[in-house]
């Protein structure tokens, strides 16, 4: 079992990244996200070579969107390490993890489709579940779906 405090101390020592314990994950500043991923992937102790999950969380009141990554190590059979990153809700840009973890490709497309998170560096960022002409991001908390306005505000 990986202790998060240990990872936090390691990141601070090796990279000089200030992280914050948040639930069962580490909140990483957006600008250093890729460095943290690279370190966890290539470090001999951790060898986090597999991303099992990537999802977005909408914090409407704080006007922020959080992306949660779950990393596992297939070599060491350890994990997960939860990594979180927060970004502004309006201009929602996060560096893409796809160049490091190929498995993040479709999950990033899903987060883009449903939450409107733009992943910088993703080679093929387009909608995956909804059709191309769809407008808006339906899993955001302020999204109004079509039947809502039909039933509530029908003349």
């Amino acid at each position: 079992m990986i202790q998060l405090e240990e990872v936090k101390a390691e990141l601070e020592k090796s990279l000089g990244v200030q992280t914050e314990l948040s639930g069962s994950g580490l909140l990483v500043p957006k600008s250093r996200l890729l460095d943290v991923f690279k370190f966890l992937k290539e470090n001999a102790k951790y060898q986090m070579d597999y991303i099992s999950n990537l999802c977005a969380v909408d914090y409407l009141k704080q006007s922020q969107i959080e992306i949660v990554y779950h990393l596992y190590s297939m070599r060491n059979k350890t994990g997960p390490i939860g990594i979180k990153v927060r970004t502004d809700r309006q201009d929602c840009i996060v560096p893409s993890a796809t160049p490091l973890f190929r498995g993040a490709e479709f999950q990033e497309r899903e987060a883009f489709d449903l939450y409107g998170v733009k992943f910088e560096g993703h080679t093929d960022l387009r909608r995956i579940l909804m059709w191309d002409g769809f407008e808006g991001f339906p899993m955001r908390k302020d999204y109004v779906h079509e039947d809502e306005d039909r039933y509530v505000e029908h003349p």
């Binding site: 002409g133 769809f134 407008e135 339906p138 779906h145 079509e146 039933y151 029908h154």
Partner: protein
């Protein structure tokens, strides 16, 4: 002289008496309906978990073959019955409507499960159609989540009863110039366009509200609004 409606019919007692002697009396209509209801071939497709129950119904234990409906056809051209088994997402709706249009007459639709009736647990969602009856006419609704195989068989028997009551003279698809083709919805920016086919379905809440308001007007002259009367006091 053809058999027009109101032509003399055979007394039931006489009919059963003759059957004992080995003479069967029937009408063309009865014979025709018997043939049709005894070989309803469903279209082979499933959309979600209800399809598993549909498969179970087709297997040996429940044995839908007892009702002559065991031939699940992989082509809509050869099918008589569409069992909409499972959640119809908005993305899937055009294909379902197109399959229905491609089926040859006479054709029937059974909606199986809460999802295909009204959206089921996904009713408040952005991605699920709230009932396939918004786009195509439905003959039998089977509630359940998912319905048991017995329920599907019951629905099939209900459909057979409905077929038995149909008449060659008045059945919709024998009318001249009748074209039963339903428009296929397109993908719009918020959902399907149009969101429903007004020939087939109308929003019930709206209709009800209009009706109750009209009744209230008839009785009170105006609509009684508790908020307004509280302000005036």
């Amino acid at each position: 002289m053809g058999l027009a409606s109101g032509s003399p019919t055979v007394d039931q007692g006489l009919k059963s008496e003759l059957e004992k002697e080995g003479v069967v009396l029937t009408t063309l209509e009865q014979l025709y309906n018997w043939g049709r209801r005894s070989s309803i071939w469903p279209l082979q497709f499933g959309l979600a978990c209800c399809a598993i129950e549909m498969i179970a119904t087709a297997c040996a234990r429940y044995d839908i073959a007892r009702f002559g409906a065991e031939l699940f056809r992989p082509s809509p051209r050869q099918a008589d019955l569409m069992i909409v088994a499972g959640t119809v997402t908005k993305k899937m709706t055009p294909q379902v409507v197109r399959l229905y249009n491609q089926m040859a007459e006479p054709k029937y639709v059974i909606t199986m499960g809460a999802c295909s009736i009204a959206g089921g647990p996904f009713k408040e969602g952005y991605n699920v159609l709230q009932g396939i009856d918004r786009f195509i006419p439905v003959d039998v609704h089977i509630p359940g989540c998912p319905p048991r195989p017995e329920a599907l068989l019951d629905g099939l028997m209900k459909l057979q009863k409905k077929i038995d009551g149909q008449s060659i003279e008045s059945a919709e698809w024998y009318q001249q110039g009748q074209k039963r083709e339903f428009p296929i919805p397109a993908f719009g920016p918020k959902g399907l366009e149009p969101p429903y086919n007004p020939e087939v379905w109308k929003p019930r809440e709206y209709e009800q509200k209009k009706q109750t308001e009209a009744e209230a007007r008839k009785i009170h002259g105006t609509i009684h609004d508790p908020k307004q009367s509280a302000v005036s006091q």
